[in-house]
């Protein structure tokens, strides 16, 4: 496998494994076709592709928001398709997802939105408060602590979503288009935060078509084209 060649931060042990995965939406929209990929523990993985290529679909399969029509997905050696109830909940606590459509509770404050991902694993309130402040600071949102998220700008909402995804220090972070609405400086801040989480051990999958964030990367970049995966050897060579 070429994982070892291109991956600089991963430990080499496979964490996420997709084997011949296809996903078709009714009636007959093929979003993903025969995808096989393995992502190592601690790796940062870029998933690129045109709009409609299937990036979001792939991320949804990984956090088991959608089930594959064919194929097998394993995380940490366990197939996730059959997971239900408590096991599924525990798995999802370990996966932080920044959704493309944010999924914020627009009638709640920024801090409440971020806290949710920590509350579900019963973190102590003081710890949650501290972590929320810390993240808001790093994302340049300190003054939005008590703002209702429905009243924030798209770029601000996007960062709140990211903060919620990484607040609980998950082992896997899936980010869908994290910089779509951001200027260059803020983009850099977001990437810095993601890199920091990655250095701390998190495995990260970033779906994007913003070439500024993967142009100079040493991490693995793969492209989806009409539901099929193509390897792009080393982002730096692009």
């Amino acid at each position: 496998m070429n994982t070892q060649m291109t991956n600089t931060t991963g430990t080499g042990e496979t964490l996420i494994e997709m084997i011949k995965v296809s996903k078709a939406y009714p009636p007959d929209i093929v979003a993903l076709e025969n995808i096989s990929v393995s992502i190592a523990t601690g790796e940062m993985f870029f998933l690129i592709g045109m709009s409609g290529a299937g990036k979001t679909t792939l991320l949804k399969l990984l956090c088991s928001m959608e089930t594959p029509s064919k194929g097998l997905i394993e995380i940490g050696g366990n197939p996730i398709q059959q997971m239900k109830g408590h096991k599924l909940a525990k798995l999802r606590q370990k996966i932080g997802v920044a959704y493309q459509d944010f999924k914020l509770l627009t009638d709640r404050t920024t801090s409440e939105n971020i806290a949710i991902s920590m509350e579900v694993s019963y973190k102590k309130p003081q710890l949650i408060r501290k972590r929320v402040r810390e993240l808001l600071e790093q994302l340049d949102l300190s003054d939005k602590h008590d703002s209702i998220t429905g009243e924030l700008s798209r770029g601000e909402q996007q960062r709140v979503t990211l903060a919620r995804a990484i607040a609980n220090s998950p082992t896997i972070i899936l980010v869908d288009e994290p910089t779509g609405n951001l200027d260059a400086t803020t983009t850099e801040k977001v990437m810095k935060l993601l890199t920091k989480s990655n250095k701390a051990g998190a495995t990260i999958v970033i779906a994007t078509h913003d070439d500024s964030i993967y142009r100079d990367t040493s991490h693995r970049v793969m492209e989806l084209r009409k539901g099929q995966m193509y390897s792009i050897a080393g982002g730096a060579s692009l």
Binding site: Q93, I116, S117, V120, P125
Partner: protein, 295 residues
């Protein structure tokens, strides 16, 4: 610790969001408990009342001939096969005569011309002092009438029958109001919780996505049902108690109600009523969750 903190905060949020319907449910639950408990209180006092009347209740079986000791044994056995009884007394012709004589007192002389055995011998059967035996006294008397050598059976037919029908009616009312209690409680609690769930669909979806366990999602709703049960039933029982005290105070002094001693439920009965209401409310909230949470 953090678990209960989060759960309680969630409950607080729910209550704030849907408090008008929560209040309606609370009132409905307590009203149902009040109605049921009221009739049940009357009914159970009626039972006590029946106990007292039962003191005077006896069936007198008039016999053709005085039964010998062997026949007495046999009759005793036959009577007790129908039902356990408090007491069976055999009254001979002589006993009857003597008793009558004492009752006459000064007018004893009217008996002068009568033979000493003009009164028939009898068996006095005193049923157990509970409502069941009161209710089947009619059947019992029919049974006794068929015993060998029986002339006729006598008991306070009139009031026994009336009392019997009255308690029957009351027990039907208790049953109906009990059913009403069950239905309204489950339905209302289920309804409000459904309202809360529908109002927070987006949040519940998100909670599932970020890995909230079923317990995390369910507990606040269960607690909400529990709270409705605790508050509603306590409120119902308390208002009945106040009503009870008021009536007692109002009608104290010489009067009709003073004939009987009215008493409130024992603590055990109160706790049972509250416990059952809590159970019903919890069932209500649980059933809605199964339907609407899809977890």
């Amino acid at each position: 610790m953090s678990f209960w903190f989060t759960v309680l905060r969630q409950v607080g949020r729910n209550l704030r969001q849907t408090w008008p319907s929560q209040l309606m449910t609370l009132l409905t639950v307590s009203l149902s408990v009040l109605i049921f408990a009221f009739f049940y209180l009357v009914y159970s006092n009626m039972l006590n009342f029946g106990d007292k009347l039962g003191d005077d209740l006896s069936l007198i079986v008039y016999m053709e001939d005085e039964p010998g000791p062997e026949l007495q044994q046999q009759l005793r056995r036959k009577i007790t096969t129908f039902d356990e009884v408090e007491e069976i007394r055999f009254v001979s012709r002589e006993d009857a005569y003597n008793r009558f004589a004492t009752q006459l007192g000064e007018n004893l002389d009217v008996l002068n011309d009568m033979p000493k055995d003009f009164l028939p011998p009898s068996i006095e059967v005193i049923p157990l002092k509970n409502l069941r035996s009161l209710n089947q006294v009619k059947l019992f008397s029919a049974y006794l009438a068929k015993l060998p050598g029986t002339l006729k059976v006598q008991y306070g037919q009139d009031w026994v029958e009336r009392f019997y029908y009255f308690t029957r009616l009351l027990s039907i009312i208790v049953l109906l109001s009990g059913t009403l209690l069950i239905l309204t409680t489950i339905f209302m609690v289920a309804y409000t919780i459904r309202l809360t769930i529908l109002g927070r669909q987006a949040e519940l979806e998100l909670l599932k996505l970020v890995g909230a366990t079923n317990n995390y999602i369910r507990t606040p709703f269960l607690l909400e049902g529990l709270l409705q049960g605790v508050l509603g039933s306590s409120l119902g029982i308390t208002s009945l108690y106040i009503l009870f005290q008021w009536i007692k105070l109002r009608f104290s002094g010489p009067g009709f109600l003073n004939l009987f001693e009215f008493s409130f439920f024992s603590p055990l009965v109160c706790i049972t009523i509250i416990g059952v209401s809590i159970l019903l409310c919890t069932i209500g909230s649980y059933s809605t969750m199964q339907k609407f949470l899809r977890i």
